[in-house]
């Protein structure tokens, strides 16, 4: 009995604050001994090891018992928790954004850009995890030492967004968009290449290239692609809708429509050449098919972008109107 109780108390003591441990253990010893003696009085004999173990088990695991004396129940308590996620979002978002910018720059200058970019992604995840860990540690320390949170009261309701005009974009959605931006920019500036051969029946195939028509809009397209990446970077830091975001969207989509117009007028959009023994008829067929698909796709894209512009203009217009006041319930109206 003594041995089990002794081991239990030692196990609790190891987890207690040093300066109070002896005193707490003395009291615990008295409390649990009294429980064992009460049990023995009921049984009319000395409690065996199983009976003592049952009493100790009912009192609680040493980790749980010791934690009740720790003086703090939370790693990050309710006062700090909302700020924890707010700061994590900004810190991890900024870390990912900065790391990806560095990856893009390094990949552009590397001999093997694809491999450099791939290695960089691993580094980005590592940096994000380290950032998450550091911020978590800071908040645990803030909770442990009850950091003054008066600064959190220094906010102005007038700086809140006027209206909830668009659901804030999720971090995942923005992250995927940013990765896509980087890959497509690297392809556009010919740092990375994608397969451009379309297999036909048998061993024959054709090679597809963008036509000279695209040369006239090379720089505008690159500027638009970089602009989209910048907007997605901004979304990481500030996912809520802003007027600036809306203006950027209108400008971007309007420029996109202008580029589509230029391309429509400068047909053809692609060049198709035979490879691996494809004949002229097959090549011509593929050319017509892909040209038609691209024309239809660009037409659909133009329509969708026009709708997007309309929606963004509507959102901007909505913010200039005074907010609608919800009707007062009858029971509260005077």
């Amino acid at each position: 009995m003594t041995d089990l109780l002794q081991r239990y108390l030692k196990s609790v003591e190891r987890r207690l604050p040093k300066e109070q441990a002896k005193d707490i253990i003395a009291e615990l010893r008295e409390v649990i001994s009294a429980k064992i003696e009460t049990e023995e009085a009921k049984l009319g004999r000395a409690a065996n090891a199983d009976e003592v173990a049952a009493i100790l088990k009912a009192y609680g695991h040493p980790v749980v018992v010791a934690s009740r004396y720790a003086g703090f129940d939370y790693l990050i308590g309710p006062n700090y928790y909302p700020w924890f996620w707010h700061v994590q979002r900004i810190a991890v978002g900024a870390t990912i954004a900065i790391t990806f910018a560095i990856i893009a720059l390094r990949s552009l200058g590397a001999d093997e850009p694809f491999r450099a970019a791939f290695r960089g992604f691993g580094g980005a995840i590592e940096a994000a995890l380290i950032c998450f860990g550091v911020v978590s540690l800071l908040f645990v320390l803030a909770e442990r030492y009850k950091l003054d949170m008066k600064w959190a009261q220094k906010w102005d309701p007038k700086t809140l967004p006027r209206d909830h005009m668009r659901e804030p974009k999720s971090l995942f959605e923005t992250f995927i968009a940013l990765v896509f931006d980087i890959v497509i920019i690297l392809w556009w500036v010919k740092v990375v290449n994608f397969p451009n051969q379309v297999p036909l029946r048998g061993d024959a195939s054709v090679e597809i290239h963008l036509s000279e028509a695209w040369g006239a809009v090379y720089w505008p397209i690159l500027v638009l692609m970089v602009g989209a990446a910048v907007v997605h970077l901004a979304d990481l830091l500030h996912p809520a809708w802003t007027r600036l975001r809306s203006v950027a969207s209108i400008a971007g989509h309007a420029s996109g429509i202008a580029i589509l117009w230029v391309l429509f007028r400068a047909q053809p959009l692609i060049e198709v050449g035979p490879a691996n023994g494809a004949d002229a008829e097959q090549t011509e067929k593929v050319f017509r098919l892909i040209e038609n698909i691209m024309n239809v796709s660009m037409g659909v894209a133009g329509l969708i972008w026009a709708v997007v512009i309309g929606v963004e203009i509507w959102r901007l217009w909505q913010t200039t109107r005074p907010p609608a006041v919800p009707p007062m319930p009858h029971s509260l109206s005077v």
């Binding site: 707490i24 003395a26 009291e27 008295e30 409390v31 009294a34 009192y59 609680g60 004396y69 003086g71």
Partner: protein
């Protein structure tokens, strides 16, 4: 649809959490050690787990609301607790608060036909 038992249990625990301290302070107007305190609370309908009671007594002592001393009783060394002067003042204030809140809640529940 009936409210799930676990939700009721969480609400019940939240409701009890603050009132337990008031009950403990109230009981310790006269000196007691842990076991007699738990027994007295139990007899009055306030059950408290020992695992929660002793850390609570220690916190209240650290806040200056209780005093304690080790003394021999029935051939055993026991730790006796009682309300300090600050504890008595805190108990008076909390009692006023409790009665006001209790009255307000009663009134609300009566209006709702509870």
């Amino acid at each position: 649809m009936p409210v799930a038992a676990d939700i009721i249990e969480v609400l019940r625990l939240e409701l009890r959490r603050g009132t337990l301290i008031l009950a403990v302070l109230g009981c310790l107007r006269s000196e007691k050690y842990g076991y007699t305190l738990k027994t007295e609370l139990g007899e009055k309908g306030v059950d408290i787990d020992e695992g929660a009671l002793y850390p609570m007594l220690r916190r209240l002592e650290a806040q200056g609301l209780l005093t304690s001393e080790w003394r021999e009783d029935a051939k055993r060394q026991k730790r006796f607790y009682r309300l300090s002067a600050d504890g008595a003042a805190a108990l008076d204030q909390l009692t006023i608060e409790w009665r006001a809140m209790n009255g307000a809640i009663e009134s609300i529940l009566k209006e709702g036909g509870q």
